[in-house]
Amino acid sequence: MATAPGLVTPEAYVDTLAREQSSLWGDAWRRLRRNRLALASTVFLTFVILVAIVAQFWLPYSYFAEGIAPIYQGPTAQHLLGVDDLGRDILSRIMLGSQVSLKVGIGTQVIVIAVGVVVGLIAGFYRGVVDTIISTIINIFYGIPDLLVALVLVLLLGRSLGIIIFAIAFTQWMTMARLVRGQTLALREREFVEAARAGGAKANKIIFRHILPNALGPMIVQATIGVPMAILFEAFLSFLGLGVPPPTPSWGAMAADGFHALRISPHIVLAPAIALSLTLMAFNFLGDGLRDALDPRQKR
């Protein structure tokens, strides 16, 4: 393509933008590091992920072997977190249960990002009737009790990890879609996108090289906030007896199993409840930290 000297080509502009972006990420990282809560959360979540990986290969005891200690027994030297109502080692089950939580949390967000990006981009990029229809659908979804719909879906389709992830994503995609739509609407008016378009760039190129990279920050924040939401949904489903089939341990189901025993063995509820709460908290602190880091204007 012949270009008049002195004019900034779209490519050159993008290079500048890339440099700007890299410095943006660098700044964000610096800001994030200064946030002690977010940092502690990152460390904790790394630990949870490590536990999930270790649990795949090694557990102190079998997670399904029953009666290895008297049922309802509290913490002992052999069983640090005690055993549950069927005499299973709670520590081993908590360790393996981290896998379910992480799979649900991350799996859901992968679907949510995929759906949200596609739907949001279409709405934001094409505007007009398409946008109106999509926005209406999003609004209708906002009006329904999400958890209850997820519950019905699991009942409808059966209890398995994949279906639970799908059901949760089904009720969670709207926020991401709305966010991408908003970003797209805003960005497509920005000068560098205008410039790219004027330079003859194709729609998909504009989307993938200009709009998406710029929307990435808010999307990451949204996804990070979405993870604990999804984990919470799964715990809710499990608590009501519609989680992953046993004996696979899930923190929500473990808490539910122990609820009747609160009077004699509160540890059966407390152990998974604490694991769950800490993990959710860590994701939320991290999400907050990321938001602050990526959007300094919202900083306190």
Binding site: Y142, G143, L147, V152, L156, L232, A235, F236, L240, L276
Partner: protein, 319 residues
Amino acid sequence: MFTRGSLLYIGQRLILILFTAVAVSSIVFLGIHRLPGNALLNERHPDPAAQAELLHYYHLDLPLAQQYFLFVGGVFHGDLGESLVNRSVQITPLLLREARVSAEVGGAAIVFTIGIGIVLGVIAAVRQNTWVDYVATTTSVIGYSMPNFVVASLLFLFFGIYFYKWTGGTIYYNSGWTGSWGTLDQIVVPGFALGFPYASIVARLTRASMLEVIRQDYVRTARAKGLTDRIVIIRHALRNALIPVVTILGPLVIGIVTGSVVIENIFGIPGLGKEFATSILQRDYNIVIGLFTFYAIIIAAANLLVDLLYTVIDPRIRY
């Protein structure tokens, strides 16, 4: 306060409420009729002829379109049909009764949510970047990170077991509904468990919007005029800071509705949430469909209320 425009708007919203309720229950109706099995099954005598008769009794032998037509007709007459599990139990009066129970617990939850949330938020904003702010902010993250059943378990542990002598264990409904407000002492704990996570969200919103308002000119002016901080905050800042908080009321109602499914089960409260969990596990589809319809109406009505609240709180908004 209500101009012709706003009345027109309310009218439109009312129609929308009806539409949403019908849309939601239609989707659930059609979805649920694809589910295998229903509560009419019997392990002992799976007699085809008797099954057919039962299906006929519940109009389940009709083509789906016709069933749907009957159902929608019923909805418009306020008739949600009959329970599949408990023969002769009419769903509409059942849900209305249970809704009253849920409303009391949910109402308590909303009071907690807004009360705790606003107080925490205001304190955090006024004492911005002090330890008070940090504690309040951290508490709110902890609040919405704790699943409501965890909050409920902890409360149960303390009030129902450790402090048993003090509470007498009457912190939850351990029997049938004993009447309006007579059970106030039983509402507090479940209400708190139900509202606490949302209180945290309200606190965050309040804090953020307070900070924004405090920096604005009219607040500075008010301060410059020599009004005390307290008066400025209450009379000027808070009122405006609450506008964004109102937006969360819609999602809050949804949250209370879904949260009640867990909380009512834990505390044995005979409300809609308990009914939902029970009937979905028993596959009493008529009740499940009825509940969704009911919920759709409640949520739509809550959204309408939010819109109206806007006009009250912020006189600039006119429909």
